[in-house]
Chain length 350, copies 2
């Protein structure tokens, strides 16, 4: 699609773009050479996990394979928090909401006596954690009720520019898993569509998904707040209301996938029991299927957590992954690098 001529007078431009993308129309030898020496998924250690992923992609893209899947059906879905970026010490969207509540507390004296806002103002993170992703969505929606969608977008963008992860001091948009960035890119290079299907708010994730993950806004599925369309003196706008329209978690994930994509994915990646139904729905389809859990096993480079964690609990998933043929990624063992290199480190590596 991208390579079609954008007007009938520009076949030469289109051809030029094609050559750039293909690595040079007239130099097939060097291109093949380069490909042979580039190792796919470089931050994934050799072993069963990496091999299983590569073999799956090989099977579904090989036209001579009985497991071949045509490109439109190559849909891969990814949870976000804990699967593509860190959810510790708290969901990033919660960190955003806490900052917003602190900034607006003086205008809302009622928050001091209303849960879950009082948890925030009292610094009671345990109380907050018990409110779960639902409580967080509630906080985020409430703190932005009355804001229109364009103002919300710029507020999030400004915050992401300046906010820093409390442990590493890095921007949250750098606290993304390097092996997963490689996996997204690898799948897209093999004509997969890569979708986010997350409990996070859709308008929050869309602010950074394209730049950070290469995922366009229309391939981001998330929780939804109520919206109102209203026409004022400056024209129409979409106003955020405090109500929750849809929580994209647990059984909500296959429902949202059906509503937004209309096809069953062939690959699904998650890290918690909130992703169980998404993996179940994906892998219950006919033909080749890939279900993957990211297991947070790395206490040194990140945080080790699973069965008893209030954030990103993975319990049933660990019990059933084996019988269901799902892959469990051992972050400590399977990944040579956890987080994306900072811009400075990337410069050193060149």
């Amino acid at each position: 699609m991208m390579l079609r001529s954008t007007s009938r007078s520009r076949p030469v431009v289109a051809l030029g773009i094609a050559m750039i993308l293909l690595g040079g129309c007239a130099s097939l030898g060097p291109t093949e050479h380069q490909h042979a020496h580039a190792r796919e998924l470089p931050s994934w250690r050799d072993g069963e996990t990496r091999t299983a992923i590569l073999e799956f992609v090989q099977r579904v893209t090989d036209v001579s394979s009985p497991d071949y899947v045509a490109p439109p059906e190559r849909i891969a879905v990814f949870d976000n928090d804990g699967t593509l970026w860190s959810e510790r010490p708290m969901y990033v969207q919660l960190a955003f909401a806490l900052d917003r509540i602190a900034a607006a507390a003086d205008e809302h004296p009622e928050w001091r006596t209303t849960e879950p806002f009082s948890f925030v103002l009292e610094g009671d993170l345990g109380g907050l954690a018990s409110a779960g992703e639902h409580g967080i969505v509630e906080i985020v929606l409430a703190t932005h009720a009355g804001t229109d969608t364009e103002k919300f977008r710029s507020t999030v963008a400004d915050w992401l520019e300046t906010a820093r992860h409390p442990d590493t001091g890095r921007p949250y948009t750098e606290m993304v898993y390097q092996p997963m960035l490689e996996l997204l890119e690898f799948l897209r290079a093999n004509d997969f569509e890569t979708w986010i299907v997350s409990g996070g708010g859709v308008d929050f994730m869309r602010v950074f998904a394209e730049e950070v993950y290469g995922i366009p806004t229309e391939q981001v599925i998330g929780s939804l707040g109520d919206l109102n369309y209203e026409v004022g003196p400056d024209g129409p706008r979409l106003l955020r209301l405090p109500g929750i329209a849809f929580i994209d978690d647990k059984a909500g994930k296959p429902i949202a996938i059906h509503r937004s994509i209309g096809r069953r994915p062939i690959a699904a990646f998650g890290n918690s029991d909130g992703d169980f139904e998404m993996l179940e729905w994906t892998t219950a389809g006919d033909g080749p299927r890939l279900g993957v859990y990211i297991h947070h096993t790395d206490a040194e480079r990140e945080v080790a957590y699973d069965r008893t964690s209030s954030i990103g609990r993975l319990d049933r998933g660990l019990d059933e992954a084996g019988d269901r043929g799902w892959i469990v990624v051992d972050m400590a063992e399977d990944w040579t690098q956890v987080f994306k290199a900072s811009p400075v480190e990337q410069l050193d590596g060149d």
Copy 2:
């Protein structure tokens, strides 16, 4: 994206595909020649309407134009009923629902005394029309409560195979507007994404949208029924419930566009006041915008209707289109052909 090599060993295949799409790497002359002789939008008569559409596309695709729009932002949205295919004598989805109700009436004696089902069983089309698109969605959802999404899909597909338009005897999937098919294709050739945004049920439209319009399932937005995810002995399924989750009409259209696409379209096409807010939202954005109403003026080749019609009423839209700079397509004047040629006619024309 499509032209990237699907595996590292296949640059030659990718190049071959590139050459086919580009019309031949080594023969730019003939390609330009062909383009110069093919008239864009062949079923659109020369005149202000056709010129305005062509000029808009020219402006947004010309990299040297101040109105240039990058491909990811080239989003065009289309209503379906009355914009892409006929909504007369009734919405196609209503014809489907009527057949389903007739088929299942014996199992539902309560329908004889419950509106809107009683309208159907009594043949009271006026009563039905007064129930509006909301009533139709209610009928469709109710008649399929308890069906899972895959069974629903096959039921619709079977019905479309055999059902015929009451006036023309043609399959409904041939009662589509030839000029609009050309417009969809023309926009996609210019790197637009073409989305359906319709009050119709999303699962109904997805059955034929890809084959008939070339629009993939993930670019179809419609009304939504409640769904339940349940796991039985045969695995998980998505069960259709009788409740309405979302009506994609009027102010619902910009809301659904925001939720599903996350970008404001630059072009919108509709035919009724139910599309007003979609055109308003689209054309209120910065930069070049195109708002188009299809006006059903052709009593000979179709049906002439507008301000007082119960189906597809176009009243406010006609009043305000001029001031708002929206184009009003006069079907009788602007289109040399209304419906897609039947396969037999197409053969004759070759």
